[in-house]
Amino acid sequence: SAVISQKPSRDICQRGTSLTIQCQVDSQVTMMFWYRQQPGQSLTLIATANQGSEATYESGFVIDKFPISRPNLTFSTLTVSNMSPEDSSIYLCSVNEGSANEKLFFGSGTQLSVL
């Protein structure tokens, strides 16, 4: 499977600031997905990032709060803007593989704490 690297692995931020999370994949992939995992919770899809087009956001997530870049087929960034303590979560980058792109693989995540 693809090797997915995320940076930073963790950060502690002040409310009102923004953090950009980077995701690097060791092979070219068409779609990259950003998920959020709130403390003690399951995973929720934030958006799908396609190279060359604007990201597609899920219900409850908006571009102004979570702007995404996808400059090429191996890299994406997710920014968490104007952070509040409620944004404290693990943010996970993922890519799909398999004969029908059905398997979803995840990076190690970014643990974000907002004070």
Binding site: S42, L43, S94, N96, A100, E102, K103, L104, F106, G109
Partner: protein, 117 residues
């Protein structure tokens, strides 16, 4: 709304025992299911998957069973080891009108598996 849920949030077993983790799903149109293992501080790790045209699939020490009649999914781990201790998530791919959107998974609540030596 549609959701994937788990019957048991925690499961404690002795090393060497077999473990069974259960998951109920509500979307009868889902055609693909995955089990993930998540260790502390790490991202979810793919364990095994199954398509809706199958009712059983085996891997190394793991078996996934799918019962579409009652919309139930289970993960069986044979000879459970302390290294199996983690949170286990089931996930489904709900089929969208006009095609399947792989990658946009709906995750269940998660079950904490603790293996005692």
């Amino acid at each position: 709304g549609e959701s994937v849920g788990l019957h048991l949030p925690t499961l404690s077993v002795q090393e060497g025992d077999n473990s069974i983790i259960n998951c109920a799903y509500s979307n009868s149109a889902s055609d693909y299911f995955i089990w993930y293992k998540q260790e502390s501080g790490k991202g979810p790790q793919f364990i095994i998957d199954i398509r809706s045209n199958m009712d059983k699939r085996q891997g190394q020490r793991v078996t996934v069973l799918l019962n579409k009649t009652v919309k139930h999914l289970s993960l069986q781990i044979a000879a459970t080891q302390p290294g199996d201790s983690a949170v286990y998530f089931c996930a489904e791919n709900p089929r969208k009108t006009g095609g399947t959107s792989y990658g946009k998974l709906t995750f269940g609540q998660g079950t904490i598996l603790t293996v005692h030596p």
